[in-house]
Amino acid sequence: MLKKNLIFIALTLLLAAVPVIVLKNAEFSGADGMAEEAVMAIDPEYVPWFEPLIELPSGEVESLVFSLQAAIGAGALGFILGRMTAGKKEVDSRAQQG
C-alpha cells in the first residue's frame, strides 16, 4: 500500500510540476479570472451588482489566507489520521500481548 501511495503522490506532484516546466510563457492566472473576462466579452454591458465584502490588500495577503486554510486543514487531517493509525497499532499490539 505504501509503495502504491508514494507512486500516486509522486504522480500528483508531477501533474502540477509539468505545466510549469513545459509552459514557460503561461501566466497561470486563476480560471475564475478568465471566466470573468469571458463574461465581459460575451456581455460587455453586464455590471456585477455586488462587490466582495472584503478586499484583500495584496496577492501576498491572499496567499497568506490560502495557506492558512491549507495549514488548518492539513493539521486537522494529520491529527485525526494520526490518532486513527496510532490507535489501531495500539489495539493490535494489545491483542498480540493478550
Binding site: F8, L15, E27, V39, I42, Q69, I72
Partner: protein, 246 residues
C-alpha cells in the same frame, strides 16, 4: 472502551475540526461575486436549499449512530479544506483548485457534503473574496451538490460492479470534480448567453473550466485514493459500518 485521555483527545480533535469546518475556506473555482444576475442568484439559492436541509439531518443522523462518524465527517471537511486551498497549475496555463468533496460523498453520501461545501464556500467568500455571497447558491449547487452526487453514484455503481475500491474511488472523485466545473460552466452560460445562445456560451465557459480541470481531477482522484487506502487499512470497521466497503 476509550481511556479518559483518548476521550479528551477525540473531543479536542472534533472541536478543532469543527472550528476548522466553521472556518473552512476554499472550494472550486467558484463563480465570482456579483457575476450572476439577481434572478439566477435566487434560483440557485432556492434549488440548493432543500439539499442543505437534507444534509443537516443526514449528518445529525449519522452522528447519532456513532460519535466516531463525527470525527470522520470532520476529517472529510478538513480534507475538502486543504484540497480547495491549493491552486494548482494546469496544462492550459491557468490555475484552478480541486474541490476535495468526493471523499466525503463516498463515505457519507451526497447530502452531507452540501453542508461541508457551503461552509467551505462561506469561508472563502468572507475571508478570501473568492466566490461570493450572491453566487453562494450556485456554487453550493456545483461543488456541494452536483459534484458529490456524481461521485456518490459512480462509487455505488463501481461497488455494485465489484470494481476494486481504489479504482472506484479514483473514478468517483474524478467524475465528481469534472461535474462541478461542468455545472459551473452551465450556470455561467445560462446567465450569460452569447446573443441569446446558451450553447455558444457554454462551450466558451467549458473551455475555460473543464480543460483546466482534467489534470486537477486526476490529481484529486489520486490523492483521495491515498487517503481512502489509509482509512481502509486503519478504520475498516467504520467504512464497513457506513457500507462503503463490504
Amino acid at each position: 472502551m476509550y481511556t479518559k485521555i483518548a476521550k479528551t483527545a477525540i473531543a479536542l480533535s472534533s472541536a478543532a475540526a469543527l472550528i476548522l469546518l466553521a472556518a473552512a475556506p476554499a472550494g472550486a473555482m467558484h463563480i465570482m461575486e456579483g457575476f450572476l444576475p439577481p434572478l439566477w442568484a435566487l434560483i440557485w439559492g432556492f434549488i440548493s436549499l432543500p439539499f442543505l436541509v437534507a444534509g443537516y439531518f443526514s449528518i445529525k443522523r449519522q452522528v447519532e449512530v456513532s460519535q466516531k462518524f463525527l470525527v470522520l465527517i470532520a476529517m472529510c471537511g478538513a480534507f475538502a479544506f486543504v484540497m480547495s486551498s491549493l491552486k494548482i497549475p494546469s496544462l492550459t496555463g491557468t490555475c484552478s483548485h480541486p474541490t476535495g468533496v468526493g471523499l466525503g460523498a463516498i463515505l457519507f453520501g451526497p447530502s452531507a457534503m452540501a453542508i461541508i461545501g457551503v461552509i467551505v464556500l462561506l469561508f472563502q467568500a468572507f475571508f478570501l473574496a473568492h466566490g461570493g455571497l450572491t453566487t453562494l447558491g450556485a456554487n453550493t449547487f456545483a461543488m456541494g451538490i452536483a459534484g458529490p452526487l456524481v461521485s456518490f453514484l459512480v462509487y455505488q455503481l463501481m461497488k455494485r460492479l465489484k470494481v476494486k475500491s481504489s479504482t472506484a474511488v479514483f473514478l468517483a472523485v474524478f467524475s465528481g470534480n469534472m461535474m462541478t466545473y461542468i455545472v459551473t460552466a452551465t450556470q455561467l452560460a445560462l446567465a450569460h448567453p452569447s446573443d441569446g445562445d446558451v450553447m455558444t456560451s457554454l462551450f466558451k465557459f467549458l473551455g475555460i473550466f473543464a480543460l483546466t480541470q482534467i489534470p486537477l481531477a486526476i490529481s484529486e482522484g489520486l490523492v483521495t485514493v491515498v487517503v481512502f487506502s489509509v482509512l481502509e487499512k486503519y478504520n475498516g470497521e467504520a467504512l464497513k459500518a457506513l457500507k462503503v466497503i463490504a
